[in-house]
Symmetry: C2
Subunit: 490 residues, 2 copies
């Protein structure tokens, strides 16, 4: 049976909750007096639909319905989860809980998106305080897993367990805080950083852009995978967390912290932190953690490279400079046609390998496809030409996996033109590491109009450049394995 | 000509610098009185070699040499860059600069890895203060691009430009700070967060693990791509940065900030920040920034999923639960063999698409390879079997790209066994979106011993399960396109 969530308050946060529930197969009933609520939630939902369902490698259940309701009563009736995301004023929240509890199932969870209030404050004057808890999400709610779950006093175990189970089922991570505190945990950090950032901008030390770069090119990408303590555990090296704290401890007395209240660095505090850190990360040695960290950093940086953003945009700029300094930046006329063309010289990256460190199957095609792109660029089918509306699409691919290769190996790809005339381009790539032939990739491509997505003739310049290679390569001995079909005898 | 860098102090930071220089083709001369320096730097270098060179899609230049020297004089002579990473004590640093400047090229850059001292402090008493600047990197130095470059007073433009050019050539991002300040910029944030974290642990609000999770499942992954201000600009929504600050401003008066010194939220400060944010991000609308952010988050989260870490490990846990609730969790005996087997039902994720939103070439093979893995699991070649030492390796692949598909589309793959006997497994996958056939993938695999990496017989159970499908599927009409070779007539 489809479950129902009630979304009380439909801004960016409420809309994110609605999207998260609906895309996980729940019906979401929205109450928001704002006449723009349906439009705004529609926009959040459009963003969520394009990003959330592909996160997992299994399709989500069929989407639930998002409906809009004129009263809180109508929205909450029969709902198993009620999420309050109204403005951050305690009087408004109390009034909202009053209306919710008049009509809702006493067994339903009432979660509040509050970023600042403690559950005990929210529960004041409630008919059933034990039903109300903080469930503080992070924007974008449809993508980020964190929910700070603060049940407050008087909430029994089964209710909290049900809340955690529902949030986990939505792909979220309920961080169950056992003690209530103003602003919970994450926002205390955000607050501390925001405060510092305001000073830096105000004092003219750095601009907003410089501050963002200081974060995203450095500790931000580190924190994305290990957070603060595990990162420092690794930084402490073989000597471990205690050693790290011995180093870092005295810094707290340095000038820039004089204005603030710092806990005393007692042996008890050091032991407490070192002990918790052991419990958290002690299953891995520092060397293992370093490699895990590096795998994660490489993976994220290369992901951002594909998006041409942040640390990934820096890599693209570096690569462009490196390319123009090598033969990999040359154009057709500068390249001899009497031999296969060098179309790639690259190192197998960590994010291309399986848990054994071998390059995974689909990355062979990734490397061949990049080599095809490079060959296209050589014959003049470059970014400017593609922007003008023409390109080549791959229609057919044949790969022979001949040998394995590890992360860190430098591989090269050399490309022959088997046929190149009119719309057709038939390429044969050979991938090597030193003398070892690792794989061959045979590809049939058609030139297409990017507008009609149908085959079309390439420019005269491209056709001539392609023909030059096709004619010269036809004189070379036929490559081993070309024209094979699956199951053909060797 | 190979350029030379001198690395004075060879701990984790100095070692990271040595690795960054050497892997970018510089010779690195190390001075460190620690007898363990060569071993320690060797370990950093091993980590760097496996992770840095693959970051770009073009191979780095040939590796430079790392050599160890008995004196600062010998190390710095003729070096174009000298990097000081000795302990954070001003007297030690002054003594080190004295020795460096006795022997080094006056045109060389002397960078200090100090995280706390201002350049004016470092320059005190130096023979040529104008040569010394802060160049503060972040661990791991071989991967993270950020370097805070603080030239201090009296350093002329050309020297700073040369420093920036060298750092950029190493794939780093020099953040040139025009005013000196204790702890520069990034460490002020780290300090603020560290301080807050100590309180939270000390007061028993959260453990180190809970704090790390609060960071990496929420704002940490957000900051990895946009930092603080751009993230908030997006959060402010259509109303923009000023609106966001109007909302967030009052929070600074909330209880948890009472102990600290907060800048007054004047109109001037609001205008300053809003103006800088416009200059930084104004080229993109909020809607565009939202999509860029979501593309980045999806890409990083899916990258972490492949590493089974952080937010990606959460996705794997969610997926496992979803899988076991569908036919995609079933075993061979529970599946009818009289039709192709459903081996994938997934949504095309954002990180699988090109800038036009179409699924890229190599991801077709990625999806087919996952479907092959799923089929292997169905016939009993699952994680436990693989751990016992046997698996199937793909020897040959043939793909027909028949139609395009966008991010967000739900695709299915159905799999037929063309041959399945002894070591051989010949599969034919059909990928569809609804009624549209998008691609076919034909694959020839061999069962191998993971120890010898040579063909070997599968277990009797796997052979029987495979044979059952092979025999039943042989009765189905031959699929269109099977057995094709590239260039065969259609």
């Amino acid at each position: 049976m489809t479950k129902t969530a009630a979304i009380i308050g439909g801004g960016v946060i409420g809309g994110g909750w609605a999207a998260r529930f609906a895309l996980n197969g729940w019906n979401a009933r929205v109450f928001d007096p704002d006449r723009q609520a349906a439009r705004k939630i529609g926009e959040v939902m459009a963003n969520a639909r394009r990003s959330l369902p592909g996160l997992t490698d299994v399709a989500l259940p069929a989407e639930g319905a998002i409906t809009f309701h004129d009263s809180i009563h109508e929205a909450v009736e029969g709902a198993a989860w009620i999420q309050e995301s109204v403005p951050e004023r305690l009087d408004i929240k109390h009034k909202t809980f009053g209306a919710i509890q008049q009509a809702c199932d006493p067994a339903a969870v009432i979660g509040s998106s509050t970023s600042g209030f403690k559950p005990s404050e929210l529960q004041q004057g409630a008919a059933r305080p034990e039903q109300i808890m903080v469930a503080h999400p992070f924007n974008p709610v449809y993508l980020l897993p964190l929910v700070e779950l603060v049940p407050g006093n008087g909430i029994d175990g089964p209710m909290v367990d049900r809340a955690k189970e529902i949030l986990t089922g939505l792909g979220m991570y309920p961080l169950h805080l056992k003690k209530e505190i103003d602003a919970h945990v994450a926002d205390r950090f955000l607050e501390a950083v925001w405060r510092e950032a305001l000073w830096l901008v105000k004092d003219g030390i750095a601009t907003t852009e410089e501050i963002d770069n200081a974060i995203r090119y450095g500790f931000g990408i580190r924190w994305a995978q290990m957070g603060l303590f595990e990162t420092y555990r690794v930084a402490g090296g073989e000597a471990g967390m205690k050693h790290f704290m011995a180093q870092f401890g005295p810094c707290l007395q340095w000038p820039w912290t004089k204005l603030t209240d710092v806990p005393e660095f007692t042996e008890e505090l050091v032991d407490l932190i070192a002990g918790q850190s052991d419990a958290q990360s002690g299953a891995h040695s520092i060397r293992e953690l370093e490699r895990i960290r590096d795998n994660n950093l490489v993976t994220m940086m290369r992901g951002l490279k594909a998006q041409d953003w942040g640390a990934g945009a820096l890599l693209n700029a570096q690569e462009k400079a490196m390319r123009s300094a090598t033969a990999l930046g040359a154009r057709a006329a500068d390249l001899p046609a009497d031999a296969p063309v060098l179309t790639a010289r690259r190192t197998v990256p960590l994010d291309w390998t399986d848990y054994n460190g071998h390059m995974t199957e689909s990355r062979y095609l990734h490397a061949f496809a990049d080599a095809t792109d490079r060959f296209m660029e050589i014959i003049g089918c470059d970014a400017a030409y593609i922007a003008s509306g023409g390109s080549y699409f791959t229609a057919e691919t044949h790969i022979r996996h001949l040998d394995e290769v590890h992360a860190g190996a430098v591989i090269e790809i050399r490309t022959r033109v088997m046929e190149g005339a009119g719309k057709k381009m038939h390429l044969f790539h050979e991938m090597t590491e030193g003398d070892r032939l690792l794989a061959t990739g045979e590809h049939f491509l058609l030139h297409v109009s990017l507008e009609t997505r149908k085959p079309s003739a390439p420019s005269a310049g491209i056709e001539a450049a392609l023909r030059r290679f096709a004619e010269a390569h036809a004189a070379l001995p036929a490559p081993d394995g070309a024209g094979r079909h699956i199951g053909a005898p060797r």
